[in-house]
Symmetry: D4
């Protein structure tokens, strides 16, 4: 509870508008529902400006259905479900219709926002990075952002990237996604004048160690203005990119 | 070179305004000076919106003086030098006056900008994280941002952090700096509705492994909206935070 | 053999109550049966206050049946079998009836104790940590402890945890179970005035490295009073928690 | 703030006993002092049953003096300062008299409690582990516990340990401290019927990797009832051991 | 674009031979096709002297067919596809005939060059390293090199290797392929007077850690003249070996 | 070739007993057959006192058959094939009869030696380590050693091990096999007065990291007289143990 | 206590030759002295056939003097002190005369045995490995073994090693010591028909990671008959080598 | 010994031109001198085409002087000593005059070759990488190669690198040296049509882990034609680069 709410509550108590025990109940009556296996957080929209998202990986179809219904009952109709494999998506679809984005492993209940703003460029080093890029792109679109996809522009043929310098120079945020040596983030970081969020991917073999090589490479980027999220975390990158893309001006 | 410049150059050639070889020279005449041991990049301000910064760690005092003079000759008077130890700072000071920020290991030639905008909150888990926090704070101020310091608000006594919820809720960006288990980033990430840039520090002992524990913790943050920079990289966090803090609104 | 037993034995020998060779036999006749592939330890109850438990993971159904029968013959009727997958459980059930706890991967031969004492709070960061939490909970109950389950109270929405401060403040022991960044242990450690046993889980992906991130985070907890067990070791946490919960007072 | 306090506060507001703004102030007036570089937590004693401790490693002598004075002003006269090297201790001693425990790297302002209860056994594998053991022992004594030191009882000569079986069998808690292969924890864990807290130390060379070998060994202990704290964290082990040793009986 | 091309283009503009916008278009019209999911690089042959190769691992059969067709349309008829499993190869074969090299996991569309030059020796430590060796051998042959295979000449029976000293002494390049302890590279490096490219393989178990042991061993080779590529990267070794084998003399 | 052989050869040449080219041929005619995919080493028996063994893991059934036939043609009738899975064993059995030891994953063509000497004790920490122990035991027996199996004598119930002190004190070599924390090696190392070869196993979960915990523990053993082989390398331990067990006395 | 001793003791009690309490005392009167900081183990000679050795690294000069005196009082006059730096050695020398072996960091109180038996070959890869080799050599000599030093015979110039084939073929044990890639162990392992004990050293830089590269290389040795001790553990290798060298024949 | 030498020797024996024992002596008389602490290898020039080099790091000044004199006596006058610190260099200089290259940590006895051939480009990512680059450059020059230094052309300002495309396109070999994220190797690898040897450096901090980040990045380079040497191994890169640069044409 924020201070303003506390003050109002206290004034209501002082005014006798509500009873002490009701106030206490109100404080205890937290903005989430306890499903036992999960405690969906309906307060998040007001707290973080974005509705709660369901991370599908560790949950059964039944649990996802339960959480989604709880969301719906609390007024959140459009729900993003990430890391959702096809089998679970089909199970859920029988109970609650959803659109499934195969490449992105994302299910959407309800609909995408029609109005999108700004511009987030999503670049990948290779073709194999596309699933993570799509997770980022669909998430970004669901959160109300315009996106531009630049796939397979890795540094082995740097002219492929340089051709798109204009796209990069006009982006509000860039998400740079690469496996193997992850050099893409540094090169884009050196070109762009906007924040770059780097996503290492587990694409590669041998000494890529499931994305560690790309992760370390990106953390050590010699270009300023680059930050990093977890390996394969397209969602996380898009979430922060959306926050940045939606920022109002300083004097607004 | 950007496309607009190329077009203009080509038109000048077509118009006979400049000769072919002069145009070629122009293309080759890149916006940096070659000092042999370094190639300072004077183009960066136009490319990234921020002047080149000198990373002091691997350079001799003589090299830093040389680069600084080259900057001055190209019109950049205010120079930020990071990772500068006191001994080198004193050596440089004899040739070029600089202000030295002891706690931050930063030297500044020229002056800080008088006008600063927005609000970047810089929070640390403990007292030992302060040097990294000061690196971030001085950098952010040098790049024209208002800062708020919240030091020693680690999660072991979470009420110390919750007391400052208001500061966090009104920030445009938060830099969360912590060593040991790095949980601060997740807790702030769950509270804030703005981007959070996490800086793991090498504070700790034993299984903190020089910051790896905090780094992994922050990369795996269960809170959305958190991205991470290198261990002890206060500068990098402030650089990206400044980019975000300076963003114009979508329709500006 | 403890000193008291040795003294008694020696006295019996001195008194001529038993022969030298019988005494030797007695010393050699150790309190375990040698099944070849296993040497179940019937002395454990007197030594550790808890009956031997069967760790099911590396054993065949046949071996588990053999060990269980050996237990039964030595008078231990109630047997806890951890890390038991469903297929093996069904095989065993045909020979020896057992109750199978699906979520916890635990089989119980005989019955749970009816009387349980004290209070162990078992908290998880997310829904995906529940299997490990159930392993801890069923183990704790089998060892005669009252349990309270607080699932999905991770730090990304810290109010979900703070709501349950009362439960945590009145626990005799807390088991804090979390994957990803494992921050839950530190936050609970800061709130609780009882011992906290942290269990890192392998929940997560990318730089969670199968639980290493959470493990390191928990080992580096800035909160005092937190100790850690192996990744996914719900059983081990519950075992020690039970020891603590069962402690008598200092002057009892 | 706990629920009972909130209820009382709300009743006072309802009764008109205190004004709304005073109540708000009361809620904001958190139980710590903000020294800028540190926020000592005076609430800890009531929250965790133990006074705040000063971790000396990352702090200057000046900061430690400042925090100590703040403690003294808030009524906490007896202060434990861990990881305090001799040089800093002497600096502090000039302003505030303290007793310095050389082997343990601990400074104590004020005095140790005269009454100590229960029994914590502190065992080490070798002579080189003694500094960590002394950190644990002095901490435990400062927190009001009786201690028994069993040093150099490593498993290479297991009869040295078995001789002390009686001490181990009568302990309320055992702290097992070892570097190198850390096997001591497992062997004690198999003998003891009380909780064992294992402390890996950085003693060793080569593939001990600064304590990683011992840490992993202890985390994988095949003995039940063993939990682990950070490498060289004698303080942390003693803190939790003290919590356990001080536990009241179930029906007290 | 190289400088010569820029100069020619500028002269054409100056001469009025082409319009400014056509010149701009020309600069933008980069030598690759954008298939959306991939941007095949037709410039590579002129830039690196070798045609683009398709890395099959992260791509669907459909994508490989699409890229191959795009290659064919741009005049590249002979295509090497590495890391291609049998199932995909058969799918592709239905659309575009290809030769599949089972042991090497390589598919070739078109044909191998008939003329091959020089001599690349490909040596393995054991029988299990052969798949990687075949990837190297087929790649080397496709790039126009003569190859000599020396398989199972590991250092455990060093006479097997010494017997082939003559082959090694007359090679222009040696590719040394080994898993486990990877000592083969050092021993060959000590014998050969030509460059040795070492390929660690993931052959082994336990502390070979998927090729890390061999990789570190090779990086630390006490023999001069040895460089290393990624674990299991037979292709990369052959690619560089081919570059070296094809080098002209200094005065040619 | 050893010096004595060279001397004899040179004398034969000097005597005119053999021609220069025949001598050269003799030197080149190395004691192995080149099967292309393998170069079986028939010299090993005279060089190492033990016949070549086939490591089955990375080889096809066809390759193993080919190598076995080559062995047979060179007079080696009794062949040990390690790391042989059941499916391959059955394939081979159709061409060459072999005895398959299921638990040990070993196939034997021909027969075990009837006479065995000395005494090798093979001890395991738990039931799950038995497959590795059986690999060691069958190998040791095939190499002509008497074996004693002590399974499930881990340190969690140390009396199970102490009961067998006599067996350990009379062994010529002990092979100590354990996963998890691998403490068994240290405890046996402290008891035995003969060489102890430690085998870490991949038994365990979480922070056992596939045997790393046990490996490090064993390498750091505080007991003297312990050496270590690769994780799960029962064969290697038995091979060296056999060498030691077969050693003649100093004055024989 | 061994069974025979127990039987004798019991008979004495039965015969009334000793009292019960005396017998109990006898059992408790363990063969070590408790110095508080150390518990020297005088039983080791009879248990392991070798006197207790003092590991000097973690002990003060005072502690070493104390332990040495305790040894002397129990009749052990010749004492080996490993990992002893020069400064400590000089301090000790003032109280108890000792011979200091500079290169080996070893001090010897009393004298080396005059009669040495068998043959242990100690080989190093390079000149920098000599300190570890000397630790092994002096230890081996102190334990009564003949030694042969083969230094700087690394595999980069394999003829340097092959020249000494005869020495290696006639050794009873070989200690192979190498840093960097550690290939020496495998090559010697392939040549020798006696046990090889490999010692990885921390010699090297970069990706040698303080000896990890050599350690992994040696653990993965493709040659049979090789076992490994800790990084830089010359003492441990010599200790086990001495055990093996001293073995009696099977029928002695 | 090569086959031709053996044949000649055998013929001489057959002809009676030399005695059997002389021949044996000749075979044993290996081309190195045994200094006890080192065995300098005078055969290397004929075997590898380059004289033996002295790796100075693990050797005393006295040892280096001894080895150098041994070289001089065997006719090698020009000697390269790498990893030589200034203090040692000065000591050696008093006995044998040498030129010391401060930045490169290299000493040269005798003189550099006057004639150098070909072209090796040595590029660094930053100013701090220069010491490693100088080690490579001086080595390359000593081995008879022309060099071009391109320092501080890291990818953060990629135009600095692109300006030098021509230098890179005309090199016979490129040595790409970079710390931090090591992306330079990939970008140069994508531009160059000659072999690229990548040298990761230990420049960086935090998650650069002493060069691991750059090492992994380079091993995973998505550009073909890149191989890697050990961290900070400028010498090794130059050695192989020289081999490649000196290669004759295929038909020479």
């Amino acid at each position: 509870m924020e201070q303003n709410e506390i003050r109002k509550l206290l004034q209501n108590v002082a005014n006798g508008d509500i009873l002490v025990d009701d106030a206490l109940l109100h404080i205890k009556n937290e903005p989430f529902e306890d499903l036992g296996y999960a405690k969906p957080d309906f307060h998040r929209k007001s707290r973080q400006g974005v509705s709660e998202v369901i991370y599908g990986a560790g949950k059964t179809a039944e649990q996802i259905i339960g959480i989604s219904k709880s969301f719906a009952e609390h007024g959140q109709k459009d729900i993003l479900i990430t890391r959702l494999d096809k089998a679970k998506a089909e199970k859920i679809n029988k109970e609650i219709p959803l659109d499934y984005y195969d490449m992105a492993n994302i299910g959407i209940i309800g609909s995408m926002p029609k109005e999108r703003v700004g511009k987030i460029v999503i670049a990948t080093g290779g073709t194999s990075d596309i699933p993570i890029a799509e997770e980022a792109a669909i998430t970004a679109e669901m959160l109300g952002n315009n996106t531009v996809r630049l796939y397979d522009v890795g540094v082995a043929g740097i002219h492929r990237l340089l051709t798109h310098t204009e796209e990069i120079m006009t982006a509000r945020v860039v998400i740079a996604i690469a496996g193997m040596e992850g050099a893409l983030a540094s090169v884009i970081g050196g070109l762009a004048d906007c924040p770059v969020i780097a996503v290492p991917t587990s694409v590669g073999y041998g000494a890529s160690f499931g994305g560690i090589a790309a992760l370390l490479s990106m953390l050590n980027s010699c270009a300023s203005g680059v930050s990093v999220v977890n390996i394969d975390n397209g969602f996380g990158a898009a979430f922060q990119a959306s926050m940045i893309n939606h920022m109002g001006g300083l004097n607004e």
